[in-house]
Subunit: 214 residues, 2 copies
């Protein structure tokens, strides 16, 4: 349905896209309720009724904003997971891509967290529909790693994956307050590195070789 609408609007696609882009940014920064249609319209230099020609209601625009975010990760996750050759590389690349995705545009993480808080039912369906398959995929690899004894045995794959997802999202969504926790100038890099170490250490069992000279 959404795909059809996008196809039909191809001639006026740029206006629609501009509105959507502004909406995503403002929704992420100020929240859905605090962002008026007028504010979004102003960002693309049109009036509110003109905006409502492209999106029938504010609700429709909110849904479109969430879906556009959803679509953008649908394109990157598949290839990453299938490319890697070994568990370590698969972990590094998957985590790396996810982190880059939210680091380069923290608005994405903010919008995601806001949507999770404001529209839990809507998001639950989107997650089940579009994220669930990849989570299952990852969980399968984790179970295999547990059988091979390279991953901690006392670990629930689904719970681990959820924790990492939530941690990535929140770390970048709440980036504005990082300086309250970390005084250092490169707080973002410290947070990112710790996030990676955190996820890695909690997943893989310690390498005996590394462990001995410690």
């Amino acid at each position: 349905m959404a795909a059809t609408q996008i196809a039909l609007d191809k001639s006026k696609g740029s206006a629609r896209e501009a509105i959507l882009e502004a909406a995503v940014r403002l929704f992420a920064q100020h929240g859905f309720a605090k962002t008026s249609l007028k504010a979004i319209a102003q960002e693309v230099d049109i009036r509110t009724p003109s905006l409502l020609y492209h999106f029938p209601s504010k609700q429709a625009l909110e849904t479109a904003a969430i879906e556009s975010l959803n679509n953008s990760w649908q394109n990157i996750l598949p290839q990453i997971l299938s490319e890697a050759k070994n568990p370590g590389e698969r972990f590094d690349r998957t985590l790396g891509v996810c982190i880059e995705f939210f680091q380069e545009e923290p608005t994405r993480a903010q919008l995601f967290v806001r949507a999770l808080l404001d529209k839990p039912d809507e998001l639950k369906e989107i997650i089940k529909r579009d994220l669930q398959p990849w989570l299952k995929f990852i969980a399968k690899y984790i179970r295999r790693g547990q059988e091979e004894e390279i991953i901690h045995s006392d670990l629930d794959p689904e719970a681990y994956t959820m924790s990492v997802t939530i941690l990535i999202l929140s770390t970048f969504a709440l980036g504005q307050v990082r300086s309250a926790f970390i005084d250092s100038g490169n707080a973002e890099m410290l947070a990112k590195n710790e996030l990676i170490r955190f996820a890695r250490t909690a997943l893989f069992r310690p390498n005996r070789m590394e462990n001995n000279h410690g």
Copy 2:
């Protein structure tokens, strides 16, 4: 200032407290912008102007809601940290209390995350003022643990503490969507256990004894 006002209003404290309680709940559930003063007033069976006698403005009520949340943890953190006898116990008790605090009332976590998103500057000051001392305290213990070689050496204490704080907050704030990640009936327990395992494994170096028979 806030303390003085509370003292002065002691005779009418119950009304004020009832308003504040309703405000915290509604702000947490629906966000600041979506919660009207009328909705809060209705919860305590009064009219909007009566509410504005107790709190001069919506902004004042929002600040009071955040501060009340802040006060409630100010009372529990101090004793916990000083009580424990060894690093393991200190970790378990501190983490346990923090988890219980948000698990028994997820509204607290929701309000906190919403405030972090909506009022980053205000929250940064609150964190620096009231949470920073305890974070420094914890960081000091972590550094000692690193010297004693029971805690991972490649770990930034401040970044680790921030990550755990964010993970606890988000895990309970986003509890409503847990079932999209975990199918199991006891998803909350799985998430909680994984959270603890996660934080523990990422902090302490593996025990050589445990490691050998694995």
